[in-house]
């Protein structure tokens, strides 16, 4: 199984998750992070630290975000790993909790 980063991450990208991941399975895009589904070891440490509550267990991804399961797989295969926490995106506050951010996802 795996965990999945959902749309709440888009344009916020706090990267608190990266600080706790024991296996470096986060991959970084411009405004989103993806979890590599084969590398994730289901330790669930990232879930509580995300300020946007963007991360779900694969079994618990909300219905309207099911597309993110495949997105995480696809994008983590293309992007570079992120190993250290960095600052959130500049407009993170403005985009926090905004619905339907998938349209803004930069591949």
């Amino acid at each position: 199984m795996t965990f999945v980063v959902g749309e709440n991450c888009i344009r916020c990208k706090h990267t608190d998750c990266v600080a706790v991941c024991p296996v470096n399975c986060f991959y970084e895009g411009q405004n989103f992070l993806a979890i590599h589904p084969d590398e994730c070891i289901d330790c669930a440490l990232c879930v509580p630290v995300c300020p946007e509550k963007a991360i779900y267990s694969e079994d618990k991804v909300p219905e309207d975000q099911l597309a993110f399961v495949e997105l995480n797989r696809e994008l983590s295969a293309q992007w570079r790993p992120i190993l250290k926490k960095k600052s959130a995106m500049e407009d993170a506050q403005r985009w926090s909790g905004v619905p339907e951010k998938l349209q803004y996802l930069e591949r």
Partner: protein, 482 residues
């Protein structure tokens, strides 16, 4: 992963860490039962649970008896492949409603929180234990750290209630350095605990081998720089995913040894049954190795051989004796013999602790002793080192002997006795070596089974259980009267 930002590795540590390569591993883990319920698993793994078993599990799902809430369910492809031909291994890895039929047990077995000065650290004996991961590649159903793995709320001595947290490098290094400074300043003994220097740390959890080489290396070098002389890595990964012990891992270990040649590593491994590492023929029999001994699974054998080649590294096996898995003298005999042939020392076997749900797993204490004793008949002295230990709050306690003949003139000893001896005692071990003797109770799965037949107890081993019984009887009396 960025560790506690306060901690800065030394230039030497940085150089070592820069040399570490990480690999990607394909464990093919299946987490949870939902995928089995939904049939969303590889065809060949469907057979792990029968439809009747899944139905029974579905029925308790979401209820108070939820099996996954007590202990998350996880299996690797490698372990599944061995379990296909092994009932003991299936018993180890398969969830069952029997686990939650009786949820009696201690929320913090051994009351570890009493010895946790820093989050993620247990400093009870002379050694320290740190939680570096809260998950493993696969989960043993009988895990006695289920409160950590399942992230259950645990009450600390100061009254706060929170799941157990992982250790942070900066905090642990600070603790070690401060502790050892105090000891040095006090002529070699800590003024409060009487302990000497903290020299040995056990990396535990969960399973440290789920971490990347870089994460493990960060811990190894930080502990080495803090003055730790022996680092243990407690892991069951040799059974769950032996390919983890690949060239990149050994390169990291070798580079660590070059950087810190005085720091010894002790791999504390966990094999419960020889089916976890021995090949079987089509009839289910182990296969003789023409060069001697039995034939190991290729990747497991390779991993153990590669560990064994490094003389600055020791390997010790420890395992609990669990109903339906290894309460089998012949299996244990084979396991002890084969492990010792391959540079793995047999360290301890354990009686199950009083974890939540322990009644589903624990073999009676006296039976565990009989099984181990039987298994060691036919082993040579070096093969039969393992003692039977049961962890009491006061410390690791050896189950030394169980006798059958009546002890003449000793009330309570009419059917023989069971003899306990304290092996490990907290702080500066004041109680080590002390003995407790009770009359036989073949059904006892925990100390509470002996409260009415204590013959001799210089340890106070049974005190709190006797007290609990008295309290229970008092409240029954008042209830009956009322």
């Amino acid at each position: 992963m960025s560790f506690a930002s306060e901690y800065k590795p030394s230039p030497k540590a940085e150089a070592f860490l820069a040399s570490v390569d990480n690999a990607k591993y394909d464990r093919q883990i299946i987490t949870g039962l939902q995928k089995f319920f939904d049939g969303k698993i590889p065809d060949d793994m469907r057979a792990l649970y029968s439809s009747g078993e899944l139905q029974a599990l579905r029925e308790v799902s979401g209820t108070f008896n939820d099996v996954e809430a007590r202990m998350p369910v996880k299996v690797t492809r490698h372990y599944f492949e061995q379990a296909k031909n092994s009932v003991p291994l299936q018993t180890l890895i398969k969830a069952s409603p029997a686990e939650t039929m009786d949820l009696d047990g201690a929320p913090d077995p051994g009351r570890q929180m009493d010895y946790s000065p820093v989050e993620g650290l247990i400093h009870k004996y002379e050694m320290g234990l740190i939680y570096v991961a809260s998950t493993c590649s696969a989960h043993c159903r009988f895990c006695y750290r289920e409160e950590l793995i399942a992230k259950k709320e645990v009450t600390r001595p100061d009254g706060t209630i929170a799941p157990k947290g992982l250790a942070q490098i900066g905090d642990i290094v600070a603790y070690i350095e401060k502790h050892n400074d105090i000891v040095s300043a006090n002529g070699g003994r800590h003024p409060e605990t009487g302990r000497e220097q903290l020299r040995e740390i056990l990396m535990s959890g969960g399973d440290p081998m789920v971490l990347s080489n870089s994460n493990i290396a960060a811990w190894l070098s930080a502990l080495a720089e803090a003055g730790i002389e022996q680092i243990r890595i407690g892991t069951k990964e040799l059974a769950f995913f032996p390919d983890r012990f690949d060239a990149t891992f050994f390169d990291m270990l070798d580079n660590f040894h070059v950087a810190y040649p005085g720091v010894k590593l002790r791999m504390m491994v966990h094999f419960n049954h020889p089916d976890e590492f021995l090949q079987k023929d089509v009839h289910g029999r182990y296969i003789d190795n023409i060069e001697g001994g039995l034939t190991w699974l290729e990747n497991t054998g390779r991993a153990v051989t590669n560990l064994g080649k490094r003389e600055w590294l020791t390997i010790d096996n420890q395992a609990p004796i669990i109903k339906g898995i290894n309460n089998d003298p012949d299996a244990l005999r084979i396991m002890q013999r084969e492990l010792r042939r391959n540079r793995v020392e047999n360290h301890y076997f354990f009686c199950g602790r009083d974890i939540v749900g322990h009644k589903a797993f624990n073999v009676p204490i006296e039976e565990a002793w009989r099984v181990l004793n039987e298994s060691q008949k036919g082993l040579s002295g070096v093969e039969g080192h393992a003692r039977l230990s049961i962890t009491h709050y006061k410390g690791k306690t050896e189950v030394v002997a169980v006798t059958s003949d009546p002890l003449k003139g000793v009330p309570g000893g009419e059917h023989g006795v069971i003899i306990f001896k304290l092996l490990r005692s907290a702080k500066d071990a004041p109680l080590k070596g002390k003995v407790a003797i009770a009359g036989r109770n073949p059904n006892a799965i925990w100390f509470s089974g002996y409260t009415d037949r204590v013959i001799f107890d210089e340890l106070g081993l049974f005190d709190e259980y006797i007290e609990l019984e008295l309290k229970a009887r008092e409240s029954h009396k008042t209830a009956a009267v009322a």
